[in-house]
């Protein structure tokens, strides 16, 4: 069973007091729990949050499934998100994501066999003037070529 760490639980409790309404803490709490559960949220995570927050599982689940930044499936250590939307597409985003997938020998949305990487295509990340680009974890990597993207990916442990 998933359980929040003492520190994680305290963070969630702080979020409950941070906003004018307790329910506003659902989004931040999902981030805290996702981080403690190797980057994804599942039914156990939602059950734990429901218990700690005293908010129904149904509500937390509907919030979780509405937003793309909560991963509903286990992901690799590094989540490579390649922007696919128009400005990036016009600058070769499709070719870039195909190149990354072929170099890592993985399909979009799947984990590499060593569990290190998950590659997904995502919608506009607001980095259109520096296209094509990808986000890995919290960080943006911009003005990419197939080669520079692979150099960045290979440098990750």
């Amino acid at each position: 069973m998933f359980q929040l760490s003492a520190e994680g639980k305290q963070k969630v409790l702080n979020e409950l007091k941070r906003y004018e309404s307790k329910q506003s803490a659902v989004l931040p709490a999902l981030y805290i729990a996702q981080k403690e559960n190797k980057g994804h949220v599942n039914a156990e995570v939602i059950k734990e949050l429901s218990k700690v927050m005293e908010i129904s599982e149904a509500h937390i689940n509907e919030v979780c499934t509405f937003y793309t930044m909560y991963n509903k499936q286990p992901i690799g250590t590094h989540h490579i998100q390649v922007c696919r939307t128009l400005s990036c597409m016009l600058n070769g985003a499709k070719e870039l994501s195909e190149h990354i997938c072929s170099e890592l020998n993985v399909h979009l949305g799947d984990k590499t066999t060593d569990g290190k990487f998950t590659v997904t295509e995502v919608e506009c990340l607001g980095s259109c003037g520096t296209a094509p680009m990808m986000q890995i974890g919290d960080k943006y990597y911009e003005n990419l070529t197939n080669e520079s993207a692979m150099n960045i990916i290979r440098s990750l442990k």
Binding site: E62, V63, F66, L86, K94, G129
Partner: protein, 435 residues
Amino acid sequence: MSEVKYLTEFYHLPEFKTLDGYKKNGGYKELEKALKMQPQAIIDEVKNSGLRGRGGAGFSTGMKWGFLPKNNEPRYLLCNADEGEPGTFKDRMMMERAPHQLVEGMIISGFAIGSKKSYIYVRGEYDASIASLETAIQEAYKAGYLGQNILGSGFDHDMDVYRGAGAYICGEETGMISSLEGSKGQPKLKPPFPAVQGYLKKPTIVNNVETLAAVKYVMRDGAQGYRKYGTEKSAGTKLFSLSGNVVKPGNYEVPLAYPLKDMIFNLGGGIKNGKKLKAVIPGGSSAPVLTADEAMKATLDYECMAQMGTMLGSGAIIVIDDSKCMVECLANLTHFYHHESCGQCTPCREGTGWVDKITHSILSGKGRMQDIELLLKVADNMKGKTICALSDAAALPVISFVTKFRDEFEYFVREGKSKVKGTAYKGHSHAQMHH
């Protein structure tokens, strides 16, 4: 014509990010000034300045503030930093390079509308923007610009950042309020407008990052001073995000009514790789596309864009060169809107799905001639029938792409391949893309 660095005057200075660097360059002077004014006088000044919402809708900021109830009911100020309109990246630059400019603009605005609490709703992916704002807010508290009795004025104001979680619809103001309330970001029926019933059913003003930052400059130069740039109906400067197939993409601040041609060919350095201009989306992906001929005649202001049947939107200019296939470009956008529809209203939920399926069917070389009319018919049925504007925003590119570049759609159906590229789409099949 060249750029005008009005809001962005000090953006080249790394120190402008910090409180000290910001104060050295005029920071928080307008807050001091504003706190000595009558709140109504600030609202009047903003109204008279002609400042219009820089997020997309272009509604008069002063008028929006005027919709608040005239009583002492608690109210919220909510900054829309959920920059998600494809092609837009100006707010990110503003938050990363000049967080205090936004914070100061928000405190002034909060004072004007009588709000003691404000939130900045930032899209979840903008980690650097969130970090930058959180630091700036902490510095502002320490310096006495936030908290109790700000600068001895008796005015209290608290500010916090709220992180979104990846949903385009949360950029719609009532969707944003739903999200801030800890729910699915589904828009709410208007009226009641947020100014009357917003966050937690309390009056709430939602303004874009650039709009709130501009309030400081309305304070500095006065309503008439602010009108030095732009036109009667499109006053001031605006930040435009230029992207796509141009030599020098980036954010450019210019006076409103600046020629689109100069934006692309002077500031943007023209079309990349010796190609020719084919089309321009002038105001974010929801804005109807302009042909190259139309783009050459357009000026970047609310009136001209409306006359040309499109909109200034968020100021995101996406340039498409003549080697790109318009069927493929449209399919990219239909996929986006289908993914981002919140699913609440049937015309949008079903409509975005059908136009995406039909466009991808044409793109895979399996389209039928009647599909072209079908696209227009479905898109027409998506307009003006839903709670929020996403459905219209998804329909407008379909109608404009198909109408203005119909030959490319017909060629694709007839020949089973792109008129420009000579091939059919060889990506994943549509079913796999949605898996």
